[in-house]
Every structure is written in C-alpha cells, then in structure tokens.
C-alpha cells in the first residue's frame, strides 16, 4: 500500500514540472498520514498538507513529517492568501468531493469552491496535479467542468490506460496560459497505440458543434455514417468526391 502511494506521489511531482533544483512551497491536498508529503520533503521541497481526518493527521504526527499539517475540509475552500503556493499535489483525495456526506452538501458547489480557492492560492502560472480514482466518466466530467469554471486549463493524463490494475488518472491543471499536456505512461511504447488524453480549454465552441461534435448532414457526418455501416458489415457505396456534396435546391 505504501509503495503505490509513494509511486503516485513521484509521478505527480514529475507531472508538476517544477523548475530544476529549486526548492518550492507546495500544497498537499488530502495529505493523510504524510506519505506523499515525505516524498516531497525528500525532493527538497517544503509543503503544507490539509486533511479532514484527525486520525490520519495524528498518524502523520507520529511519523514526524516535516511539512505543516492543517485539519480542514477542502470543499470549504483553501484558507490561504492568494499566490501562496508554487504548486499543488493530491493523491487519491479529490474524488471524495463527489460524495455528499450531509444532506446539505451539493458536490458541484463543493467542487467549485475547492477549485476556485485552489486557483487563487496558487502563484500565477503554477500547476496542480491531482491523482484521483473517478467512479465513472460522469464523475470525472463533473470534476473537470468545475475545474474549468474556476479558471483552470489542462486535462486528464491517463497512465497505463489498457491495464485495469495499473490505470491511474492524473488531473493536471494549469493556472496560467495554456501549456502542453504531459505524455501519459504506456506499457508498450508503440507510437501507433492510441493514448487517451482529454484537453480542455475555455474557448467557446459553436453550440451545435458542442452538442454533437459534428454538424448533422454535413459531408463529415455522411462519411462517418458510411464508415460506421461498413464496420457493421453493410454494403456501402465507395466514397468519391461527390459524397455528401451540396445538391441543387430542388433535390
């Protein structure tokens, strides 16, 4: 158990792309007993950890972690001045925001409160790498939507997408202008294997395209439909330059 957490902390720190050889002030969300924090300390960084469980924080005290610990609920916001942290990591914590522990909790609100306060406490241009275990794609979408609303750009990096056991999701968020999304890890290093990444920005997309992705009745749509039917084994006319072309009005 310990080993997995440490490995994920290492990967998260790698994805943070902090400047080489510079000790940074980092935030660890859901630090628990300080396993990820210890990794940060070993790499020469200073950190503050937040966790909602007093028992886990007590365990962290017993392990004598170097970072400062706070007892707090991330869904209530991060209680720091703007521009406090050079980066943020989180290992296996933010999926808990999707649970409503009390009847009055609305996950979307708590997520938005968390992400908007996180955006504020990060230095401009800093990143947050949040490793999580999303229950399903709806949950992942809920999380990424709230992150985008709060002003973050970025995307989800999926390591080992084809392995049920090793598959890990890292939500990489940037608080400055959009930069590149890191390459995910893959078991076989084939270049033609499809790597799952989703990048999202705040750019506005045409409403009808946002709804479908492809405009209905366009050439693209027709070609897509024909390809689908071919895959189903149907007899389909070959594609020519006349496929899906605009006909005369009286057609």
């Amino acid at each position: 158990m310990i080993d997995v957490q440490t490995k994920m902390a290492g990967r998260a720190l790698e994805l943070l792309y902090l400047p080489e050889g510079q000790p940074c002030y980092l935030l660890d969300i859901g630090c628990g007993s300080g396993l990820s924090g210890d990794y940060l300390s070993d790499e020469g960084h200073y950190w503050v950890g937040i966790d909602i469980s007093p028992a886990m924080l007590d365990a962290a005290l017993d392990r004598d972690t170097e970072g400062d610990l706070l007892l707090g609920d991330m869904g209530q916001g991060i209680p720091f001045k703007p521009g406090s942290f050079d980066g943020c990591v989180s290992i296996s914590a933010i999926q808990w925001l999707c649970n409503a522990n009390k009847k009055s909790d609305i996950p979307a609100k708590r997520l938005y409160c968390f992400f908007s306060s996180l955006y504020s406490v990060l230095v401009r241009g800093a990143r947050a790498v949040l490793q999580l275990y999303p229950e399903n794609s709806e949950q992942l979408e809920l999380i990424t939507t709230q992150a985008t609303k709060a002003g973050f750009t970025g995307g989800v990096v999926v390591d080992f997408p084809n392995s049920a056991k090793a598959k890990k999701f890292y939500l990489c968020l940037f608080s400055g202008p959009s930069t590149f999304l890191p390459k995910p890890l893959n078991e076989s290093n084939d270049d033609d294997e499809e790597v799952q990444e989703s990048e999202f920005t705040r750019e506005r997309v045409l409403y009808r395209m946002a709804r479908r992705g492809i405009v209905r009745k366009s050439r693209e749509w027709v070609l897509g439909k024909k390809a689908r039917r071919r895959r189903q084994g149907e007899d389909v006319r070959p594609d020519t330059r006349y496929t899906g072309r605009k006909r005369r009005p009286r057609f």
């Binding site: 510079q22 937040i50 005290l61 707090g72 209530q76 409160c113």
Partner: protein, 125 residues
C-alpha cells in the same frame, strides 16, 4: 505550525474575503525545531512574507533577533537569511489559537495542527 504557514494562512469564513488576513496568533506552547538551512528557499519566500503580520506574531511569541524588513541585497546576506530561516521555519507553535480579524472566529491549534473546519453557516457560498 510554522510561522511561515501562519504568515500565509487566511480566514475563509463566508463574507470575509481579503479582510480575513492576518490571523491573530495566541500561543500557549511553542517549540524550537532545528531545520536544515536552505538559503535558496528562504530567499524565494522573502517577497511573499507579510512583514507586519510576521512582526506581530514574533512579538506575541517574544522572539528576539527578528529582522524588521527585507534589506538591500538580502539574497546574499547569510546572516539575514539565517535569522529569517529561524523565525519562519524553526519556530513551531504547538498549542494556541488563531483569530479571524474580521469575524472574530477562533481556530484552535492542537499538537501543532490548526483546526480550520468551518460550520455550514460559515462556509463560503
């Protein structure tokens, strides 16, 4: 809780916003921890330090040898950096309270861990 953390902590009670800083510190138990000196890190943190809040906190804890402000060329002044290192990273508040200056709400500190949990009414909408 180190004084560096205290210098950056802010109250997130609903409606308080930027007036939730700085949190007034009261300490009943303080400990001095030796921490490895890293001049790069201390130099990078100096611009982020809110000096008025730091001096107030240092005063409450009766600390001596606290620089009153950043000096010219502090990045290369080892004595200054060591003093700041001691104040920011080696002083550990174990028991005490933090008070929000706007709402008066008290956050207790126990075993070095401040309790920042808010009730439902206090949570930011």
């Amino acid at each position: 809780m180190k004084l560096l953390t205290h210098n950056l902590l802010s109250s997130h009670v609903r409606g308080v916003g930027p007036r939730g800083f700085p949190l007034r510190l009261q300490a009943t138990e303080v400990r001095i921890n030796p921490v490895e000196f890293n001049p790069d890190f201390v130099a990078r943190m100096i611009p982020k330090v809110e000096w008025a809040a730091l001096l107030e906190a240092a005063d409450t804890l009766h600390l001596v040898e606290v620089p009153k402000g950043p000096i010219e060329g502090y990045e290369h002044d080892e004595k200054f950096l060591r003093q700041m290192h001691h104040v920011l990273l080696e002083v550990d508040v174990l028991e005490g309270t933090l008070q929000c200056p706007e709402s008066g709400r008290l956050f207790p500190i126990s075993r070095g861990i401040p309790n920042m949990l808010l009730s439902d009414e206090e949570t930011e909408t």
